[in-house]
Symmetry: C2
Subunit: 487 residues, 2 copies
C-alpha cells in the first residue's frame, strides 16, 4: 500500500522544483562590514571566487549567493550565526560540496558558510583510537593521518579526496565500509555544534559509552545542516588491518550474485569488509569515458569483495576456500584477486569511479534506494522496461551488503518528459517494498518533497517541531531536508 | 576543571533524594473503570500483585503505585496514554524492572505501564538478520529464538533472563558484546513509539540505511521512557559465530592487564568479542556468597576474553599464539581456556554474577563510570584510600574494551556518612578526567541531578526543551533522567 504524500504550497505539480524564496533579509553593506571585521581576508564577495561554491558537483543545482565566509574557529562560526540570526539572514553551511542532492549549495542568496579552513586535527589517542578534529578536515587527509599511526577511518567513500568530515557527519554518509564498521550513528562519539542563534553546544565527548541524558549529537547527524553547524567531531577509528585482500568477480545473473553474497558472509565472516557490485552497463561507461580496463571476462554483473583482517595467512586461506567454492559451483564465472596495494587500488577504482564515468554521459537522474537486498536489482530491470527508449542508459551499482542500490538514468540533456516517467514511479515502487527513497545521500533540495514515501506524516510533523525548536527563524540551510509544507 | 552543577529547587543539599511530588491527578474510580474496560483482567490493583512492580531489583527504591496496566497491543498503549495525558495522570513505563538507577519503578503513585504481555516476535528475515518484535520480549527468549535460526542478538547482559528488549533500547543498554557489535544506536534499525498524548509514531523500518529526514528513533533510545513508550523494535542481528572460545586469565597488576588488552587487540583483532575484568575482591564475593570456584590461581585481577569467529581452526590458532605471547612475557600469571558450551558458560558466569554476589553484602552503592581506559582502576584504588575503614568493600569490574568501570562500594546497611564521603567525590573525580558518570545504566531517579558533571548546562537545557515538546504535561516517567530544575 502506498504511503500518502501530502505536498502542499504548489509543490504538488513539481515536487522537485525549487520553492519560492522565503522572506529572509538581504545582505547589506553593514553586514559585509561586520563579516570583514570578523573574518578579514576570509569574507569572499568576488563572483568568480564564489562561482564554484554556488554550484553543486554534478552541476545540476545553482544558487546566487554573493557572500562566502571562511571561519577558522568555532567562536567565529558562533559570531557569524548570532549575527545572521539577529538579522534574519539565511545561511548555507558547506563542506567539500560533494553532495548529490543539492544540499550543500544555496538555493537563492543564502550566505555560504564554508568549513574549508577548519581543517585541524585536535587530538588523537592511539590507545583508544579516538580522533577529535575540526569539521573541515578532508576525509582522505584524515585517512592518511591515521594510516601513519596504524589506524583507519571507519568510513570511506568515492568523494574522499574532497568531502569534509563535518559534511560526512551532517549527511550521515554511508560509503564502502559500513558493512564492517557500522554507521556514523555508532562511530561518532561526540560533536561540537553551533546552533542557529550562535550558542555553542559542546558534546565533544571521547567516550565509547555515555548514558547521561538524551544523546543530542544524534539530532545533528544526518540533518544536513538544518539544525546546527557541526564544527568539530570525535570519532572512533578502527585499527589498520594487517592484511587486506580484494577479489574482483563476475556473475552471470543477479540471483547468482546474491547466492555469492550469502556464501561470502558465511565463509569470510568477520573479515568481510565490503561487498559491492556494478552491472555491465557501468563497466561499459568506465571503459568508454575513463579508459579503464576490465580485468576479467565480460559478465552481466561485477562484484568487489574486500577482506580486512589481522592475520594474512588466515585471511588468504578463507578467501581461497571461498573462491574455490563459488568457482566450482559456477556462481562466479571469472575473477581476479589482489593483495598488493597498487592492484587493490586499481580494482577499487573500477567501483569508485562509476559516478564519475556517469557525469560524461550528459544529464544523470540519480536515485539512492534502500530495499530488501533480494529486490535491489529488480528495480533496475523494471525501470529499463518502464522507460524503454526514453532513457539513454539505466544502470545499477551499489552496496549489496547494505541493501543499497544506486540507480542512475542518463539522458543527453535535462529531459522533463523522461523525469515525469521516472518520478514518482521510482518512489512509488520503493515505497511499495518499504524501502527508503534516500539510503545515504540525504534529501537536500532535490528529494525534500518525497519524504512522505519513506516516513509517515506524524514523523514529518515531529521533524518540523524539532526544526522550529532549534532554528525558529529557519535560517539554517532553508529549503533542504524538510518538505515545503513544513518550512 | 570541574563542570558546574547548578542544582536548584532544594536539591543542592541532597541531589540523590526523591523530589517533591508534582501536581499530577490521582487515579479515580472512573479512571479504573476506563482501564478495566480497555484491559479486562489486565488492570491490576491488588497490592500484593503490585508489590514487586513497585520496588526495584536492588530493593533500593520503592514507589506506591496502586495500578499496574498490562497492555498487549500498541493500540492499547495508545489509548492508555491518551487517557492519562487528558487526565494528567503520571505513568511509569516498566520492562523487566532490572534497571540499577531507579528508572523503572514509580516514585510516588504513577500508573505502572508494563510491557510484559507485549512479547511477540513480529517478523524475522533470515537473509538480512533483521528481527522485529514487540517491546516486552525478554532478551534471553529472543536469543534462544535466534540461535535456532543461526543468528544471535547484538547485545548480551547479565540481566538477560528478565530484561525486556524495549527496556534495553529505552536505556541504551551496553553489556558484554558492545566491543564487537557496537551500540544500539547503530544496531536498532527501527522503533514504534507511543507518544505522551497517545499518538503512534511508526518508525519501524527494517533497512540498514535510511537518510530521509531526522532520525527520530534516536530520541527514544536511551531516554528512559521519558519521551515516549517504545512498543516495538527492529534490530540487526549478527550471524551466530561458528566458533566461540573463552579464556579466563589472571594478571598481577592493572598495568599488565592493560598491556594484555593491547596485545589482545593486535593479535585477536576481528575475532575479539569481549574483554572483561574483575578484581580479587569480586572473586572473594563470588566464592563467599555464590560458592563459585576460582578456576585458576589467585590473582589481583581476572580477565574474561571471548573470541567469536567463522573458522574454529583459525580462531584457536590466533588464541593460542596470543596466550603463548602473554604467558611467556609474564603479562598473565595463569589461565584456562574453554571451547565447549558448558565450560564457556561456567567461565562467563563468574563475570556475570558479580552483581548478584554484591547484593548479599548488605547495601551497595553502585557507580557506572566511563573513563579513558588507562584511568579506570585508578578510581577504585583512589576510592579505597579515600574511604578507608568506612566502606566494607570497594570493588571494581567491568568492560575494559569500552573504558567502562563498575565501581561498587558496600556497607552493612544504608549509611549516610559513607554516602557523603562517596558523593560528590566520585562524580568530581570522573568529571575531572572527562568521564561519564553513567556509562550504560542511565540516570533514572538516582543520578538525575548529577547530569551536570557530564553534560554542559546548554545541553541539559536543550534536553528540557525536547521533553517539553514531546511531553508537555510531563506525564511520562516523571522525576527521571532530567534534573529537578528541569522538570
Amino acid at each position: 500500500p502506498l504511503k500518502p504524500h501530502p505536498q502542499r504550497n504548489g509543490s504538488e505539480r513539481n515536487p522537485g522544483a525549487a520553492p519560492p524564496r522565503l522572506p529572509f533579509s538581504r545582505v547589506t553593506r553593514e553586514d559585509l562590514a561586520f563579516f570583514r571585521t570578523l573574518l578579514p581576508g576570509r569574507t569572499i564577495t568576488d563572483p568568480d571566487l564564489l562561482k564554484s561554491s554556488n554550484v553543486d558537483w554534478l552541476k545540476t543545482v545553482e544558487g546566487n549567493s554573493e557572500v562566502l565566509l571562511r571561519p577558522k574557529t568555532t567562536e567565529e562560526v558562533s559570531q557569524i550565526l548570532r549575527h545572521c540570526n539577529e538579522r534574519n539572514l539565511a545561511v548555507c553551511p558547506q563542506g567539500g560540496n560533494t553532495g548529490l542532492v543539492g544540499g550543500s549549495v544555496p538555493v537563492f542568496d543564502e550566505i555560504i558558510l564554508s568549513t574549508s579552513l577548519m581543517n585541524q586535527v585536535i587530538t588523537f589517542d592511539n590507545i583508544s583510537g579516538i580522533l577529535t578534529c575540526q569539521a573541515g578536515c578532508v576525509l582522505e587527509n584524515l585517512s592518511n593521518y591515521l594510516e601513519e599511526r596504524d589506524f583507519i577511518m571507519p568510513l570511506d567513500l568515492g568523494a574522499k579526496g574532497s568531502c569534509h568530515i563535518g559534511g560526512n557527519v551532517s549527511t550521515n554518509a554511508g560509503g564502502l565500509r559500513l558493512l564492517r564498521y557500522g554507521s556514523l550513528r555508532g562511530t561518532v562519539l561526540g560533536l561540537e555544534v553551533v546552533l542557529a542563534d550562535g550558542r555553542i553546544l559542546n558534546c565533544l565527548a571521547t567516550l565509547r559509552k555515555d548514558n547521561t541524558g538524551y544523546d543530542l549529537k544524534q539530532l545533528f547527524i544526518g540533518s544536513e545542516g538544518t539544525l546546527g553547524v557541526i564544527t568539530a567531531v570525535s570519532i572512533l577509528c578502527p585499527r589498520k588491518p594487517k592484511a587486506v585482500n580484494v577479489a574482483f568477480l563476475g556473475c552471470s545473473s543477479f540471483q547468482q550474485l546474491l547466492e555469492t553474497f550469502q556464501c561470502c558472509r558465511g565463509m569470510l565472516g568477520e573479515i568481510l569488509s565490503a561487498f559491492e557490485f556494478f552491472d555491465a552497463s557501468c563497466m561499459s561507461l568506465l571503459e568508454k569515458h575513463l579508459k579503464l580496463t576490465n580485468p576479467i571476462t565480460e559478465s552481466p554483473f561485477y562484484i568487489v569483495i574486500e577482506t580486512a583482517g589481522s592475520n594474512a595467512t588466515h585471511d588468504e586461506e578463507k578467501l581461497h576456500k571461498f573462491l574455490e567454492e563459488v568457482m566450482t559451483s559456477s556462481l562466479v564465472t571469472d575473477g581476479t584477486v589482489a593483495t598488493e596495494a597498487t592492484k587493490i587500488k586499481a580494482l577499487w577504482s573500477l567501483r569508485e569511479r562509476v559516478t564519475e564515468a556517469l557525469t560524461h554521459e550528459g544529464y544523470t537522474y540519480k536515485y539512492d534506494i534502500s530495499l530488501p537486498v533480494e529486490k535491489i536489482y529488480d528495480l533496475v530491470q523494471d525501470m529499463r522496461g518502464h522507460l524503454g527508449d526514453m532513457a539513454k542508459n539505466v544502470v545499477g551499482y551499489g552496496h549489496v551488503g547494505d541493501g543499497n542500490l544506486h540507480l542512475n538514468i542518463t539522458s543527453p540533456s535535462k529531459d522533463p518528459a523522461l523525469l515525469a516517467a521516472i518520478e514518482p514511479y521510482v518512489y512509488e515502487w520503493t515505497s511499495e517494498w518499504k524501502g527508503s527513497i534516500s539510503a545515504e545521500h540525504g534529501l537536500g533540495l532535490k528529494k525534500r518533497n518525497y519524504i512522505y514515501y519513506s516516513k509517515p506524516s506524524e514523523a514529518v510533523a515531529l521533524m518540523g517541531s524539532i526544526k522550529a525548536m532549534l532554528d525558529p527563524k529557519g535560517i539554517l540551510n532553508p529549503y533542504k531536508t524538510l518538505p515545503d509544507n513544513i518550512h
